[in-house]
């Protein structure tokens, strides 16, 4: 342990010195962070800042899942990708960016869509999951997977000029199904790719997702469990509201729920939500 009794090499002490100086974080917080593993699902608008800050602060192992390629129309908000990566895998691009700012942590590339067939295997390897996806079936699937495997889920969303954030399945907080047992009608489901989004709105929410994951991983502060942050960029207003706890009657996390790994693998999330896991192309007419 480099002879300092805290497990940090002299280079680490120098790199993370501004965090080590913090009384409420310090060596203990940094050690916890370096020992933790965090999976970010989606290397898009939310995932971009979340990944950069998680890599920079010294999360020990950082996983990135995405099946998509970088496109020019992503660049207004997906600041982790550079023009040089247009047409290449988002995971490859994001991993390269994370390595460029911190070569000392482990970055794991999962270049595939998260599906019921691979989710258990991938998510099992991490302590904390960040939902940075852009569609409804993925949100139900990731939440159910986190319940089955007992992982805290830092969930963010952004659309237009609004954002939302909470921590599911952590110290008594609800899962996604506790809040939304029935999926909304498909006509109520908008994506950034259909409806637009101001780039910096997922920027704010993605940073806050990184913060919540860091707090859980380093065991500091009060996570946003049982609370939800509602962000309105246009009026510069933020509400942090109290939401229900875990529901005893939840079909997935409730008292008598028997939602097994096998049931998860057999569940049809696209049919349940009547929405596809991958978005359709868009035609913009001005």
């Amino acid at each position: 342990d480099a002879g300092f009794g805290h497990g940090l090499s002299p280079e680490m002490v120098y790199r993370y010195s501004r965090q080590l100086l913090l009384p409420s974080f310090g060596v203990k917080g940094q050690s916890n962070l370096l020992k933790s593993s965090i999976l970010v699902v989606g290397a898009g608008g939310l995932g971009s800042p979340a990944l950069l800050y998680l890599a920079a602060c010294g999360v020990g192992r950082l996983g990135i899942v995405d099946h998509d390629d970088v496109e020019l129309n992503n660049m207004h908000r997906q600041i982790i990708h550079t023009e040089a990566y247009i047409g290449q895998s988002k995971v490859k691009s994001a991993a390269a960016a994370c390595r460029a700012i911190n070569s000392t942590i482990d970055i794991v590339e999962h270049r595939e869509a998260l599906r019921t067939s691979n989710a258990l295997e991938i998510v099992r390897k991490y302590d904390i999951v960040i939902d940075a996806t852009d569609n409804l079936p993925s949100r139900y699937m990731i939440s159910d997977c986190c319940v089955v495997l007992g992982k805290p889920l830092v969930s963010g969303a952004a659309l237009g000029l609004e954002g939302q954030l909470t921590v599911y399945n952590h110290i008594g907080s609800p899962c996604y199904r506790c809040l939304f047992p029935t999926p909304p009608p498909t006509s109520a489901c908008q994506r950034c790719s259909d409806s637009g989004v101001l780039g910096v709105v997922p920027g704010v929410i993605g940073c806050l997702q990184a913060l919540e994951a860091i707090k859980i991983a380093s065991a500091i502060g009060e996570p946003l469990s049982g609370r939800m942050l509602l962000f309105d960029a246009l009026s510069a207003r933020i509400r942090i509201v109290k939401i229900r706890g875990r529901s005893l009657h939840c079909e997935v996390c409730g008292e008598n729920a028997a939602f097994t790994e096998q049931m998860f693998q057999d569940f049809d999330y696209e049919k349940f939500t009547q929405s596809p896991l991958t978005p359709l192309p868009l035609k913009l007419k001005l």
């Binding site: 949100r139 952004a158 237009g160 908008q190 950034c192």
Partner: protein
């Protein structure tokens, strides 16, 4: 009864894109209190200008809408049966899925 109603997450599109509504809701004849059940029916009649099915389902809100009374999930106060008092702030917000 003076109430503040807020719509977000796209629900404001159902009431002419106005997010914050300061409203005066009278008690129904013969009733002693105003519940969330009464308020929803009032909102549907007086504020929702289009596609009411995007706001309500049956006598409650449609799936995917969170209701907050004074910054608390209405599940914690009795949902439709919650009694409202002067100056309450009620937020209706549609969950977002984008990223």
């Amino acid at each position: 009864m003076q109430l503040t109603l807020e719509f977000g997450g796209g629900l404001e599109l159902l009431c002419q894109s106005v997010k914050i509504h300061k409203v005066n809701v009278d008690l129904q004849a013969g009733k002693e209190k105003l519940t969330m059940r009464d308020l929803l029916s009032w909102v549907r009649t007086n504020l929702i200008k289009e596609r009411p099915e995007m706001f309500m389902k049956g006598e409650s809100v449609r799936p995917g809408v969170l209701v907050l009374i004074n910054d608390c999930d209405w599940e914690l106060s009795g949902q439709l049966d919650t009694t409202l008092v002067e100056k309450d702030v009620i937020v209706f917000i549609s969950t977002l899925h984008g990223g």
